[in-house]
Symmetry: C2
Subunit: 422 residues, 2 copies
């Protein structure tokens, strides 16, 4: 067996428009160092691919296919929401990982995900030491929620932010055109169950006083029905229409999500989701305005066609840096984005210790939200604006974006017994 | 008073990503013929701008601003849903129009809209003759519904089609990545109350057998709950996930829209709209699959950022042709798109008589829908594919598309008495 170790790469949690750009950074950089890194094996459907010994041999992919990952949304190897339990609760899963890694001579563990996977990555790094199996575990940040600490922002977020800001500006022009005789209130529901980063990004749509969005609803601000309705009414009277962007996590002061406020279908089944229709019905019932609503859902996080170039470049650079960190011997770290100090936006790659990343959530600062709770401040704009900078269009064929499909060739299994995931 | 007549231009009905491109074609072409056409006055908020004598003087706009209309979605002058009643029912409105046109020396009437406005345009052309006021009325087609006869397609449709096809492809990649442990069924609700053209366009997302969308629901095909659920289950078992694109106009055999099937909120108020959550609840209740759903709503028809270049070019060319038709003395006509006969898509501008356009709806041919009612045929693909051809990106500044804002300078009123719209 050669002294050269293979690498394992897995995508974790909700996918984004640019997580494959990080994969591209990892694979292309590893290929530049064939003297030190053997093959890059990807986990089929994330970490469960490692547990099941379902590995994908990325060396079977052409250079062009790997490069195509740069412009392809979602998770090319599959992702999963499986979170490894604590070592005490489920030591077997960790041992299985090491067993699979040992069988395939894997010395580098690249885990591309959010807060939960940073925690898993940290645990794996610790276990490898106690189990006497040398493994360098590097976390590559990714989450549209933008809630990881120590990095200026999280890959995936900038592209969602751009999509939501553009969609808000476009839909607002539509409503403004029609409001004299038709729709007066438009509601766009966006992702962000626990933090209002994505909703805040809608604020980038406004150029001047009075521009949409007129109301942003954040999970951080308790929803006040009377105050909300009064603001809607005032805006319609003043501007002729009102555009509302609402985070799916908008909640009452007692913590109940508005989206779970008791819609029932014809059979009496409760109807999950649907903050936007809930707010629309409230506006209609109380103010009588004609409304429309949209729920962007997965469209927002997969919209590679209008990804932020900054986001794509950062996602790639973080994948690249992860491999470079591994090559210099680092373990239990995460490459991160460091914002330059100048007035003009600049960024570089820094390094964070995973113990400082795992299980810490970056909340949106209160001073990013206006005092009335319905908008974003100049500080928020200054932070958000560069993250949507630049376009990075995919190629098109017959009017449709060309997204790569990998062969995803399985690596032959070496272990006898199958593993049952808890 | 000079012999040179002014022109009136108005946007009518639901706006699109490219209706302003037609406005651009009208104004730029009229400006090339200053010897024969005076000023182009636009109706503020469509035809009601004419009734109220609220005209916009487009001659006050810079060349750059007018050209910016080519890349700006929605209705730059405002649109409206006001439909003129029949001559018998409301002769006063027609007389008022002529009065306003006479006061402002308007000799050309350009009406940019769908089927209803084609009808209005025809009536105006007829009235001008009976009232002894010379007026050339030209209709410029526009509707995302793609239901006007005699034209190969309707400006606005191609861009919605492109947006829906791309969004379907992107969201499907997301679902495919996650389906092993998460969402199995994704539902995208699209516009099209009476015809399935937009839903059909989602079919452009598929490249190979088994690709999403796996199920398309058309208004033309009566919804069969059992058949639908069986297909969802079969698809999930076979592919691991199922992507459904559903027209908002999907209905039961008895004509009831699914979207109005009796959702009630916590207060017992019925909840309008929301076909997607209705279908999602059905899937969850009957099959138990985890689901997500999206409703694109206005996002789809305002998405200028990913407009079809073919659509933009046709919208402009139709505006241009309308002015050229007027200059050669035509009346009661509509420029239309004529598809070339060759294998490679080509198009030219033709001319249709308004009496053959008004009050005729172009339905989607039954042979565009597969026999099972859940997909589109090769004929549909052949028709639809060229309509989304090419991109026509707007300029960007600070990561956001630059959409023009007109000054919309009012023309001083000349008539004494205000007019009350019925």
């Amino acid at each position: 067996m050669s002294n050269k170790k293979n690498a394992f790469y897995a995508q974790s949690g909700g996918v984004t428009a640019v997580i494959n750009a990080s994969a591209c950074g990892v694979i292309e950089t590893a290929r530049k160092h064939r003297d030190r890194i053997g093959k890059v094996y990807a986990g089929r459907n994330g970490i469960i691919g490692a547990l099941r010994e379902e590995l994908i041999d990325t060396s079977k992919e052409s250079k062009a296919a790997v490069h195509g990952l740069l412009t392809t949304p979602a998770g090319a190897f599959g992702s999963c929401r499986h979170k490894l339990k604590s070592l005490e609760e489920n030591r077997a899963e960790y041992e299985r990982l090491i067993e699979v890694f040992r069988a395939h001579n894997i010395g580098y563990f690249f885990y591309n995900g959010g807060g939960d996977s940073a925690d898993t990555c940290l645990k794996v790094s610790q276990l490898s030491a106690t189990m006497g199996y040398p493994l360098q575990a590097i976390h590559i940040p990714k989450t549209i929620d933008n809630d990881l600490p120590l990095t200026d922002n999280c890959p995936g977020f900038g592209s969602v932010a751009k999509y939501i800001a553009i969609s808000t500006r476009e839909a607002a022009l539509d409503v403004a055109s029609m409001c004299e005789t038709s729709t007066k209130v438009f509601i766009l529901e966006v992702m962000g169950r626990h933090a209002g980063w994505i909703a805040a990004a809608a604020g980038l749509a406004a150029e001047r006083e009075g521009d949409a969005p007129h109301i942003i609803l954040f999970p951080e601000i308790a929803f006040d029905r009377e105050k909300f309705l009064a603001r809607v009414q005032r805006t319609v009277k003043q501007r002729g229409y009102c555009v509302i962007v609402a985070s799916e996590g908008t909640q009452y002061a007692d913590g109940r999500f508005l989206a779970e406020s008791g819609l029932k279908d014809a059979f009496g089944h409760s109807q999950l989701g649907g903050l936007a229709p809930y707010l629309a019905a409230m506006v209609k019932d109380e103010l009588g305005y004609k409304y429309h609503w949209a729920v962007a859902d997965y469209l927002q996080r997969s919209a590679r066609h209008i990804a932020s170039r900054t986001d794509v470049e950062q996602a790639y650079a973080l994948g690249e840096a992860a491999v470079e960190f591994a090559l210099r011997g680092d373990n239990a770290v995460m490459p991160c984005i460091v914002r330059g100090k100048g007035k003009r936006y600049s960024w570089s790659i820094g390094e964070a210790r995973l113990e400082n990343v795992a299980n810490r959530e970056k909340k949106m600062p209160r001073n990013y939200i206006t005092r009335d709770g319905f908008g974003i401040t100049a500080q928020a704009l200054e932070y958000l604006s560069p993250l949507i900078g630049g376009e990075a269009y995919p190629d098109y064929r017959n009017g449709m974006p060309v997204y790569v499909r990998l062969k995803n060739t399985p690596v032959p299994k070496k272990l006898k017994k199958p593993f049952k995931i808890a």
